[in-house]
């Protein structure tokens, strides 16, 4: 098992190195590798968790990254490929994508020595979904039958358990959903679906301060606002056994301070380089600088619900506008290289990501852009506006995109700032935008369905463009009924092709993890969530 996971990592390292060379950045093979001290611990730039450390109670990275190491669910995502891999689950079977039978591996234990059983999962999920337990991610369980009883839309819960969860024996339980969700297994990789030991339920508040999990690391201490310390758990049964003996999550309120500590080797692994050091971090850190795409994308969407953007020939205008944007130059200059030009609607690192699905329509070509806009009957009024929220640091790039469009096509383009996220969001949500708007998507789980179904499906909550394509919906519905995730991903790739034809949203660029690590550690990789792969970090011998 260990040999296999090592081999996997070699492949992963090569993949990362290739990706890094492909986008023209310095290679991240790691600085001079030295002998490893398996007893070594390392520190990581973190922030104070907003909530007690309970698995379904972290939406921010401060708590989320600690929980990810303390708990392990049925499955998780391979950090290199985003593919699902079994952890506590031996297998998860379904014939209709609605009723699942879960078989657990035996031998997994919590940090207090008690075994991880089917009951540990069912109890944990029932507890986390219950409104009265105030878990911030309680709505992640909404696919499960009986969720309404523990989490009614209003009022007090009428039950303590969800009828869709049934324990068969110690190693088996069944999940019944309210409808078919083919990628439900992908959702199961989220920390909210972790098991909890029996002792947790005796005093949830106490165990929110000193959690007992089943993950690769066990809890040691939490000095509020200063640091959280965890140590490797020697009886951890997962495929990703820690190669170091512990992590100190060091609290920083300013990322500049963390960066200075990293440069002087007082901090080992960075979360994100602060904006003011972005320009110089690659020369400061050399081989230890990290620069790779994250599972998030920035788009400009069209208000397709307005008459001015309806009609088949307007798709050509939208493609033309996309080709008028010089993504490479804007990401390099205005955005300081902190973004990577996009050529598809799914961020790399997600399963089912396909390079260049946008094709020619996402390449900068002023002549072709002009021609397409003319063929499509031109932009209404020869003027467009791009709505954005002024409190998110978007002004610079919106102006740059507008300049690019204006220079390439002669179409007048101006930014339309709204004071804050909420007021911009209200207009977008209520479909009151006339023109273009900034939209973005951060993955919930690394699967292309999350970037496509939840953003471009007819009536989807995040379908800000009001896009509705029978072809896309048909392929998406087929994909949702598939019984394997591979098949789902493949069918969604076909659905994505429809987006290239209709261009409801212009993909601009993917977010990137811009980080680094100190001279004390090596083998530091980041996954598509922007988290370092904690268990694989190696501490060098002094």
């Amino acid at each position: 098992m260990r040999g296999a996971s090592q081999a996997k990592w070699v492949v992963a390292a090569v993949a990362v190195a290739l990706a890094a060379t492909a986008c023209g950045s310095s290679s991240s093979n790691g600085a001079s590798d030295g002998p490893v001290n398996a007893q070594g611990t390392f520190s990581y730039q973190s922030s104070e968790p907003q909530n007690p450390l309970q698995p379904a109670n972290a939406m921010e990275v401060g708590g989320g990254r600690v929980l990810k190491n303390l708990f392990k669910g049925l499955v998780d995502y391979d950090p290199a490929t985003g593919k699902l891999r079994n952890q506590v689950a031996d297998k998860i079977e379904t014939t209709d994508a609605q009723n699942y039978t879960v078989t657990l591996k035996s031998g997994w234990t919590f940090h207090d020595g008690t075994p991880v059983t089917a009951q540990s999962f069912v109890d944990a999920w029932n507890w986390s979904a219950n409104t009265k337990n105030n878990q911030i991610n309680s709505d992640w369980f909404s696919d499960i039958q009986g969720y309404d009883a523990v989490h009614p839309a209003s009022g007090a819960p009428t039950a303590d358990t969800m009828s869709g969860l049934k324990v068969v024996d110690d190693t088996h339980f069944t999940i019944a959903l309210t409808g078919p969700v083919s990628y439900f297994e992908y959702k199961l990789g989220y920390t909210a679906f972790s098991p909890l030991p029996k002792v947790f339920f005796t005093d949830p508040a106490k165990y929110g301060q000193s959690p007992i999990g089943n993950g690769p690391y066990k809890f040691v201490s939490w000095e509020h606002n200063k640091a959280i310390t965890v140590a490797a758990y020697d009886k951890y049964e997962g495929v990703d056994k820690p190669k170091n003996s512990g992590i100190v999550f060091k609290n920083y309120s300013q990322s500049e301070a963390a960066y200075k500590d990293l440069v002087s080797d007082n901090l080992d692994v960075l979360d994100q380089v602060d904006p003011s050091d972005l320009a110089s971090y690659k020369s400061d850190l050399g081989d230890r600088a990290v620069d790779q795409p994250q599972g998030a994308i920035q788009n400009i969407s069209f208000s397709l619900y307005q008459d001015s953007w309806k009609g088949q020939d307007k798709a050509k205008v939208r493609q033309g506008l996309s080709m008028a944007i010089d993504r490479d130059t804007i990401t390099k200059t205005v955005l300081n290289g902190s973004r990577q030009a996009a050529n598809s609607w799914v961020a790399p690192g997600a399963m089912g990501y396909k390079d260049n699905t946008c094709g020619e329509a996402c390449t900068y070509d002023p002549a072709k852009a002009k021609q397409l806009i003319a063929e499509g009957g031109g932009v209404p009024g020869n003027k467009i506006t791009v709505l954005y929220n002024a409190d998110g640091g978007h002004k610079e790039w919106v102006d740059a995109v507008c300049n690019s469009i204006r220079q390439a096509t002669g179409v007048e383009c101006v930014g339309d700032p709204k004071p804050d996220f909420k007021s911009a969001r209200d207009l977008v949500k209520n479909k009151k935008v006339d023109g273009l708007m900034r939209t973005g998507w951060v993955q919930d789980y690394p699967l292309n369905a999350n970037f496509l179904r939840d953003v471009y499906g007819t009536g989807a909550a995040a379908n800000d463009a009001g896009y509705s394509s029978p072809e896309f919906d048909k392929l998406a519905a087929e994909a949702d009924k598939a019984t394997t995730v591979e098949k789902t991903a493949e069918l969604y790739q076909q659905a994505e092709e429809q987006l290239a034809k209709d261009m409801p949203a212009i993909p601009l660029w993917y977010y990137k993890t811009t980080a680094g690590y100190s001279k004390n550690v090596q083998n530091v990789k980041y996954d598509s969530f922007g988290d370092p792969v904690f268990t694989q970090v190696e501490v060098k011998q002094k």
């Binding site: 309120s253 500590d261 440069v263 002087s264 007082n266």
Partner: protein
């Protein structure tokens, strides 16, 4: 004297209640829903949001929240943070750090500031006075963040004498550099104030008398000149100590010190009214105590001042 102190203590009550009331309503008037803010950019689940608001006591009118808060405050209950921790615990962690940092900065500015001011005042117009003038003007004109970054770069990154940030916020040795940065601007003011005061008093009648009596120079300057010249400086130092105790958001941020400034910054970002109010309550008490001590010190410094 006793009656004076008693009167001052009584006066503190309306001041205290007034500031707490103002800050309570100010934090509640901040835009945005603190409970919904826990979901960040994502839409909050309505059922869970309602449950959160109920737990935080945010589902009643602002007037009722105020009454609840004041009622709790009188029994020593400062409320809870969004994360469900007691605000008093958060204050208890941050305050000892800030007390250390503030006292270090205070000692630094008093010792160095008064010394520079004294010698400049005694040697008006000489080279030392001119140098001190340039030095203090320079300190006053450099913003604290700039000074912080310069010190960090020179002493930590270039010379490697220290670590760029404070690794243990309770360690006095490590707090030395942030304390110097924090105290430097006040140091300049203390030096200027002391110099002016000394330069004025050195020409006064009692000084001439003391010198004429044949008192040793050390005693003339120490007991007569310096003591009398300290009154404006003590007034400044009193309010400055209050300001130092209020934490330094910028300096604590640069050096990653886990003090009051840091905790306030965190609480304001999360829109945690209870935590912000809690800190302000404690800081108001510190300020009031500091100003009372300053008033009492006047009488110690100048025998002509009597309190009845």
């Amino acid at each position: 004297m006793g009656r004076f102190v008693a009167r001052r203590l009584l006066q503190m009550i309306p001041v205290f209640l007034g500031t707490v009331t103002i800050i309570f309503f100010m934090t509640r008037m901040l835009p945005g829903d603190p409970a919904a803010a826990m979901w960040g950019d994502k839409a909050a689940d309505p059922a869970q949001l309602a449950a959160f608001k109920h737990r935080m006591g945010l589902d009643v009118s602002t007037g009722q929240q105020y009454l609840d808060y004041m009622g709790n405050l009188l029994t020593g209950n400062f409320g809870e943070t969004m994360a469900g921790r007691k605000v008093i615990d958060v204050i208890g962690e941050a305050l000892p750090v800030t007390i250390r940092l503030a006292l270090l900065a205070f000692v630094f500015e008093v010792v160095v500031g008064v010394t520079i001011g004294l010698f400049s005042g005694l040697r008006r117009g000489k080279a030392f006075d001119k140098t001190a003038l340039v030095f203090t003007l320079l300190l006053i004109s450099i913003p604290v963040p700039v000074l912080g970054f310069i010190f960090q770069n020179v002493f930590a990154i270039q010379l490697k004498w220290i670590t760029p940030t404070v690794q243990d916020s309770m360690n006095l040795g490590q707090l030395m550099l942030p304390a110097i940065v924090l105290g430097s601007i006040s140091l300049a003011y203390v030096a200027r104030l002391t110099r002016t005061s000394i330069a004025e008093n050195i020409k006064s009648d009692y000084m001439r008398t003391a010198i004429a009596k044949g008192l040793p120079r050390r005693k003339v300057i120490g007991t007569h000149l310096l003591r009398n010249s300290m009154i404006p400086v003590v007034t400044f130092l009193g309010t400055d100590l209050g300001a130092l105790m209020g934490g330094a958001i910028v300096t604590e941020g640069i050096f990653n010190v886990k003090g009051v400034g840091n905790a306030l910054y965190h609480a304001i970002n999360l829109n945690e009214g209870a935590t912000v109010s809690g800190f302000v309550v404690v800081l108001v008490l510190v300020y009031l105590a500091a100003s009372l001590i300053v008033d009492l010190l006047y009488a110690v410094l100048d025998p002509r001042i009597r309190y009845a």
